[in-house]
Amino acid sequence: MDEKPSKIIDARGSFCPGPLMELIKAYKQGKVGDVISVYSTDEGTKKDAPEWIKKSGNQLLGIFDRQGYYEIVMKKTR
């Protein structure tokens, strides 16, 4: 991953829809060009968050498996 997140949301241990809601909140507070990363252990979010990122017209930079959790990285493009 080339781009360094400007904001990291650590939502590990939080359940659906918590991590997605926190991601959307950070997205709304951020500015175009921001790279936002969310850590989560919730399986529902792994499907919901990338779906939301694409549907909202933003860029999904990746879904990365980390040890015991995963990281979803997006770029705010609008």
Binding site: F15, C16, P17, G18, M21, I24, K25, K28
Partner: protein, 137 residues
């Protein structure tokens, strides 16, 4: 805004209240507005004081105690916190039901500040008639 969900919260069982709050979150994630009309046993859970003890729907049966324990252990946020979080992300408006409030002598000031107004059923149905989805929980 990509449409609107109208939600009627009737049950005071926490599992149903949670379902309502989670659907509210899903709606705002889809850029939809949500109007929530809270009546009967659900409204009791919006009182500032003297809210009833949490219960689960009868179908939880023997799992009820275990479920309550899991929810406490895993620090699952309350339905009200989930609604409030959704309201920070999108347009969520919560109304109390005038009929039930009148029956119990509850005023807006007796209820959680998330309640924007106490309105009658006719006004809510009028607001709901053009929504994309109406749910009664």
């Amino acid at each position: 805004m990509a449409g609107k969900v109208s939600l009627i919260l009737f049950s005071g069982n926490v599992d149903k209240l949670m379902a309502g709050s989670i659907i509210t979150s899903g709606a705002v994630a889809n850029d939809m507005d949500v109007d929530v009309f809270v009546t009967f046993w659900a409204l009791l859970h919006l009182k500032k004081s003297g809210t009833p003890p949490p219960t689960l729907s009868p179908e939880a049966g023997p799992m009820a105690q275990q479920m309550m324990k899991i929810m406490a252990e895993k620090k699952i946020p309350s339905w009200l916190d989930t609604i409030k979080q959704a309201a920070e992300v999108g347009n969520v408006t919560v109304y109390g039901c005038a009929m039930f409030a009148d029956m119990l002598g509850l005023k807006k000031s007796d209820l959680d500040p998330i309640v924007k107004d106490i309105i009658g059923v006719s006004q809510f149905v009028d607001m709901a008639k053009n929504s994309n989805m109406t749910l009664f929980i």
